[in-house]
């Protein structure tokens, strides 16, 4: 009988011992980089076949692959508080590319790659932040593909304060200082990252600056700071941005309804927190109490819009009667005016793009911006092109694109402008 128990004990010991292991393949073997993290690597062949499927390329189009790195950076918000944030650097690669594409990229790398700093448009969900969304999708769209894979630039996309690593902070929405700080501080961190990881940035660190919608506003805010800090800005292409916040708010508050209430509610919420006011001074209940939850980074714009109202004022309206009737004398008006990004004289050329058919930010905002830059601030070169005209090459075109539909063609026009401009620089390609 003893022997039976001995056998049992041996068997069970073996069983238990081996039962404790073998359920984990071990550490991930993602390529290590200094001062950041590789978050996406899309080879040329995969990206090209997807672009061909979407009709954005054909078999003769040069399509580079890309690697995307998440890079942490430190910045400061409007109140001088230090914020740990993040952003993405997208670098063109020739993995699984044909011989001609490999050769072309090698030539460009030998001379150095220029930077495109792309400022993203309005987002509310953290999943849409550049450093988060690129990790989850390789769908052939986005600035990284247009600028890096189709045009051979290194693309930088900062997550603004409120997203990515700084998601615990409220979104610093349409705030000039925070916006400019995050873009410039991220660019500095990205340049240091490139150096640490032998990414072949052109020695003169040429920067092409762009952004759509909120990103257009941020691009101009950043341009002022970049130029003040002597960065080598080759060209800026702000696209369809709300550069003049005061007239936009004035127009909204004098209207009865608004199609997309989440934008103005976000401005009110962000400004109340930044300038230490009670949001109830601007937004009526029950909406005011909902704002912390609506803007905590978990919801998308359509989800937030459903929780708000399209009615601007009066009973059941979004804004308080007090702000609707006394806007001109309010702190809100003063701060919006102060956050206008049309308050400096750009040195580098500015090629503004805006769709004539924009249904969210009126084309006239860009016209007024250009007019102010040229006629009041004596800017050297600020030019405005309607996107419909740029893509049809017909000044009389009847084509009209709304704010959403305008984004992709705007980026393609900007990429063309940047590539054309690059040929005039010492890079020459």
């Amino acid at each position: 009988m003893k022997s039976v128990f001995k056998l049992l004990i041996v068997s069970i010991t073996i069983f238990i011992t081996i039962g404790c292991g073998g359920s984990d393949p071990g550490a991930l073997k993602t390529e290590a980089v200094k001062g950041g993290k590789l978050i996406a690597n899309v080879p040329s062949n995969i990206l090209k076949s997807e672009l061909i499927k979407k009709g954005s390329a054909d078999k003769n189009t040069t399509v580079f692959g890309f690697k995307a790195y998440k890079i942490p950076y430190t910045t400061t918000d409007d109140n001088g508080k230090e914020v740990q944030a993040s952003g993405v650097m997208v670098v063109p690669t020739s993995e699984n590319a044909d011989g001609q594409t490999i050769q072309k990229l090698e030539y460009m790398k030998a001379k150095g790659l220029a930077l495109v700093v792309d400022c993203h448009g309005t987002i509310f969900s953290n999943d849409e932040a550049p450093s988060v969304s690129i990790e989850n999708s390789i769908s052939a769209k986005g600035a990284g593909v247009i600028f890096s894979s189709m045009s051979g630039f290194i693309t930088l996309q900062p997550d603004y304060i409120g997203f990515g690593d700084s998601k615990e902070h409220y979104q610093a929405y349409l705030l000039k200082k925070s916006s400019a700080n995050s873009v410039v501080d991220f660019t500095k961190a990205a340049i240091a990252f490139a150096k640490a990881n032998n990414i072949p940035l052109v020695a003169t660190k040429d920067i092409y600056l762009t952004g759509y919608s909120q990103g257009g506003y941020v691009a101009l805010a950043a341009l002022k700071k970049f130029e003040a800090e002597q960065y080598h800005i080759i060209m800026t292409t702000p696209m369809s941005g709300p550069y003049l916040l005061n007239p936009i708010a004035q127009k909204v508050l004098s209207s009865d309804t608004i199609n997309v209430p989440s934008f103005m509610a976000a401005v009110a919420y962000s400004y109340a927190l930044t300038y230490n006011h009670n949001v109830n001074e601007l937004i009526q209940e029950p909406f005011a109490s909902k704002l912390p939850k609506l803007y905590n980074g978990s919801l998308t714009r359509p989800e937030i819009d459903k929780e708000l109202t399209k009615k601007i004022k009066g009973t059941g309206g979004l804004f308080t009667d007090s702000i609707a009737t006394n806007y001109q004398n309010s702190w809100f008006q003063k701060e919006l005016q102060a956050n206008s990004v049309v308050d400096f004289t750009p040195k580098a050329p500015v090629e503004m793009l805006h769709c004539l058919g924009d249904d969210v930010i009126d084309y006239r905002i860009s016209q007024a911006t250009q007019d102010t830059f040229v006629n009041k601030l004596a800017a050297n070169y600020v030019h405005l092109t309607p996107v419909e005209v740029a893509i049809t090459k017909d000044p009389q075109t009847k084509l009209r694109l709304g704010h959403i539909a305008c984004a992709l063609p705007s980026y393609k026009v900007a990429a063309f402008m940047f590539a054309t401009m690059r040929k005039t620089t010492p890079l020459g390609y």
Partner: protein, 407 residues
Amino acid sequence: MKNILISSITAISIASGAAYKLPEQSLKGTALSAANVASCNGADCAYYNPANISFLDANSQYFEGGLTFIHLPKVSYKGEQRLISGSVDATAKTLTEDVAIPYLHYVSKAYGNLRYSINLTVPAGLSKRWNSPVEKLYAQEFTLKTIMINPSVAYKINSNLSLALGANIVYSEGKVYSDGKDVGIPLKREMEGDSIDYGYNLAASWHLDNGLKLAATYRSKVKLSEEGKANLYFGGVGKKYDASVNIYIPAALTLAVSKDIKNWTLEFVYERTFWSSYKTLDFNYKENLPATLQSFDTPIDKNWKDTNTFRVGAQYRYNKKLTLMAGYSYDQSPIPQKYLSYELPDSNAHIFSAGFKYQQNKNLSWGIAVLYDYKTKRSVDNNANGLKGKFTKGGAILITSGFDYKF
């Protein structure tokens, strides 16, 4: 220590039976091609037919231990593989596999009409490793290791009839590695999981007075609920996920008849294995996978079929000390041609075996057996996994060395 145990005890990544079943669990099991059900008369009845332990010497205990060395030659594939970019030549060979697996069987004395047994065996296992560009995309390594403890109790109804009931406690480890980098597909998977699962077994033996022995055994399906982690990569960028997958050790019904004729014992076994419960291979993840990794979350159709296996075994008592044994079985593959894939390019098998057992003294005997598993060629076309070609070679060679101790 743990790693040593895993590699030496559960390095059992083989499949000498159809699909990934392993029926050779003792010296006689190997020598007789597992035609050792109705006639078994030693400790290995604990596995093959625990009802038979009632008919062993009531005052003795029985122990058997041994090792089976298994050599799996390369499987060759000559043909094409359909990829998204078109068909490519996928002609290649697997790596060879060489492993040793242990077994232990014990049968107690009789306690009245009751008697118990216990065994430690490896009821199933699989390993296919490919190092060729195309095949690596699907099965760089596909491994299933199992180890089972199987206690049983037998009740002797009368001097002719016995019934038995047992529990099957199975520990398993699964490993799935794949890598498409060499064919321009930037997907890579490193997945490992383990599980402890349960089943049962039943057995009945009827020994007729004319020397004819009849037996029926049934071993239930064991659902191996592998749970673990998966490192999934797109373009070399990986993320770790909680992952799980269900694999089955199928239920099996065995009907056996044996007859002693002078110095000979002959046995015929019919085995029905219920593979049809294996419909899909469906990996599950605790969180949603991004679009880039969706192909790892797509269920793979298997649609396996129930199979028949026919076994015959012959034992010849040459003298009081030496017994010679030989066996043959025909084993059907459960995998329809449409669903054949690289992780298990199985085909019907003809199995030939032989061995001997030598009685050293009144307590101890020992022996050696060898088994050759010949896999038939398998053509594949209109295949759901995109294969068009032919699998050849493969099979298995087993050498078992074991001893019996009666005390």
